[in-house]
């Protein structure tokens, strides 16, 4: 199954931004694709799409089992001020000290994609929850467990405290991480190139862009769009 981006589709109205309607259509099409994809393709990802009080939310959940802590410990974090700072916040937690030597933990990650009312681009909110721990994990755990090593430096180097911010989930009002969307429009313009992508292709390109950096890797087939193939042929 391939993404259709042929020219009979109307152009996105406010590209590189997305309208409410386009976002809704993108999420619905994405969900259809997920339902068609068989389980081996989707792995440990599950998707739902629901209308909430603040607007529609595409929720993707991922279970990460056997997170390897030794792999993380082998990397030096001494020259990493951000990670150090946030690790420090958990040093007071006796449970954290007990847990650290364990060889592996399981994590439950909830990614919520919604349309930012300010920026009119998708924005990613997420939380990660160890299955055997009552409280939420801090930003050090995000970098440790979710961000692939090749993206860590890039993500930590921007803004006041890196590209991942702490804020409140717009729907629940509870603390959540989010990726600040202020650069999304520019990047989408650079990557998607022109407005003749479908809403779904827009969403999938965006998921590839933002999701990949935060441990939300979709199966490779998801990114094989007609348009990209067309571009590579031409």
């Amino acid at each position: 199954m391939e993404l259709s981006t042929s020219s009979q589709h109307p152009a996105l109205a406010i590209f590189p931004l997305l309208t409410d309607k386009e976002f809704d259509s993108a999420c619905n099409q994405f969900l259809d694709r997920v339902h068609v994809a068989n389980e081996s393709l989707m792995g440990r990802l599950t998707c739902q799409y629901a209308q909430r009080a603040i607007g529609p939310i595409l929720r993707i959940t991922r279970r990460i089992s056997h997170v390897s802590i030794p792999a993380y410990n082998s990397q030096s974090s001494a020259d990493d001020p951000i990670r150090e700072r946030y690790t420090e916040a958990y040093e007071d937690d006796p449970e954290a000290l007990i847990r650290t030597p364990e060889p592996s933990v399981s994590l439950h990650v909830v990614y919520d994609v919604l349309l930012s009312p300010t920026y009119q681009v998708p924005v990613l909110y997420f939380n990660l929850q160890p299955t055997d721990h009552p409280g939420p994990l801090g930003i050090d755990a995000v970098y440790r467990y979710l961000v692939p090593s090749q993206y860590r430096e890039e993500l930590q180097s921007v803004g006041v405290m890196g590209g991942i911010s702490l804020g409140y989930h717009p729907e629940s009002g509870t603390p959540a991480f989010f990726v600040h969307p202020c650069n999304t429009a520019d990047v989408m313009r650079q990557i998607a190139g022109h407005r003749r992508v479908t809403p779904e292709t827009y969403l999938i390109i965006w998921l590839g862009l933002v999701g990949n950096r935060l441990g939300l890797q979709l199966p490779r087939n998801f990114f094989a769009t007609d348009e990209m193939r067309g571009n590579s042929r031409s």
Binding site: R85, A89, P117, G135, G159, L166, G167, G173, C182
Partner: protein, 326 residues
């Protein structure tokens, strides 16, 4: 803000005098240590202070930590582990204290028209001032509040994110804030944190479009009242792009057919009527609810762009609390 004078365009001096009044605004706070954290339970002396409405609560934490040091059962707790609650509700530290008061204290707003809208009900019942808050230095409510860090990075980051959003709405890009020098960007936060208006104005003037260049959209958020039976800590916030002028097409759909072809100035009343028609059936007169900003009822005729230019919070946003009447 004169509610009765919608027409003459305000001079920049009147806008800046309003801005000065907003920045000078202070709220008397009466802060007690959570009894469960105090060696003397509820016998600890309160900390009293007139705190700028535009300031954030965590800026008080070092002083409060010192003040309550001898009373703390856990003397090792650090200032950034402190958080505030009002009547059991943890207060989100990224909102300025004046906004939190307007949201939670249940005080009737000041209004130009005297006591007309607010009879004696509040005077004899619980006087909301000083505002009575509780500070805690342990048991952080992780489900409700983002944790602070010792270096204040989390607060600074939240502030800058909010500034960027306001900038994006005003200009259609966030290039203004991105183009600020590192010094000015850090200086903006310091100026707001310290409620230092002259320093704020210098940097804000770089960010804001000049007065003759209208905003693209106006950074305004409306906070809706929670239903009385709601346990939810979540506030209902309404936000939608609000242009400073109403396009003629929109006007022609309304009673204003005569004004077809002429853009109308977006007032707080027209914005509320468009976003919340059930609560604001009229764009001119508050019927069921009224907009509150900095403890005062906002005149419905106040143009939104002027409102933002003279009375935004330090992050560039106007946060209007919608308060039910009667």
């Amino acid at each position: 803000m004169d509610p009765q004078a919608p027409s003459p365009p305000p001079s920049s001096s009147s806008l800046s005098s309003i801005q000065k009044a907003v920045w000078d605004g202070k709220l008397p706070l009466h802060i007690t240590l959570a009894p469960s954290e105090s060696r003397t339970f509820d016998q600890t002396d309160p900390y009293l202070i007139a705190h700028p409405r535009l300031a954030y609560l965590p800026s008080l934490l070092p002083r409060l930590r010192d003040f309550f040091a001898s009373a703390l059962i856990h003397p090792t707790s650090r200032p950034h582990e402190g958080w505030f609650s009002f009547e059991g509700v943890p207060l989100k530290w990224h909102y300025p204290v004046g906004l939190l008061y307007d949201l939670y204290a249940g005080a009737d707003p000041a209004s130009r028209g005297g006591g007309g809208g607010s009879p004696s009900a509040t005077a004899e019942d619980a006087d909301p001032l000083p505002w009575r808050l509780t500070v805690h230095f342990s048991d952080w409510p992780d489900e409700e509040l983002v944790r602070l860090d010792a270096d204040g990075m989390v607060m600074h980051d939240a502030f800058i994110n909010s500034v960027k959003e306001a900038d994006f709405l005003r200009n259609g890009t966030a290039k203004g804030i991105m183009a600020l020098s590192k010094e000015d960007s850090a200086g903006l936060w310091t100026a707001v944190r310290d409620v230092d208006l002259p320093s704020f104005q210098r940097i804000s003037n770089i960010l804001l479009p000049p007065p003759n260049q209208p905003f693209r959209n106006v950074p305004v958020r409306f906070f809706l009242p929670l239903p009385p039976d709601s346990d939810s800590p979540s506030l209902k916030v309404v936000q939608s792009p609000i242009p400073p002028m109403i396009a003629p097409i929109a006007a022609s759909q309304s009673m204003m057919a005569a004004a077809r072809g002429t853009p109308q100035i977006q007032t707080i009343g027209s914005a509320l009527h468009a976003l919340l028609p059930n609560l604001f059936p009229s764009r001119r007169t508050p019927v069921l609810a009224k907009p509150v900003l900095h403890g005062a009822a906002v005149p419905m005729a106040a143009p939104v762009e002027e409102l933002v230019r003279c009375s935004a919070y330090g992050d560039g946003w106007v946060y209007v609390v919608v308060r039910m009447m009667g």
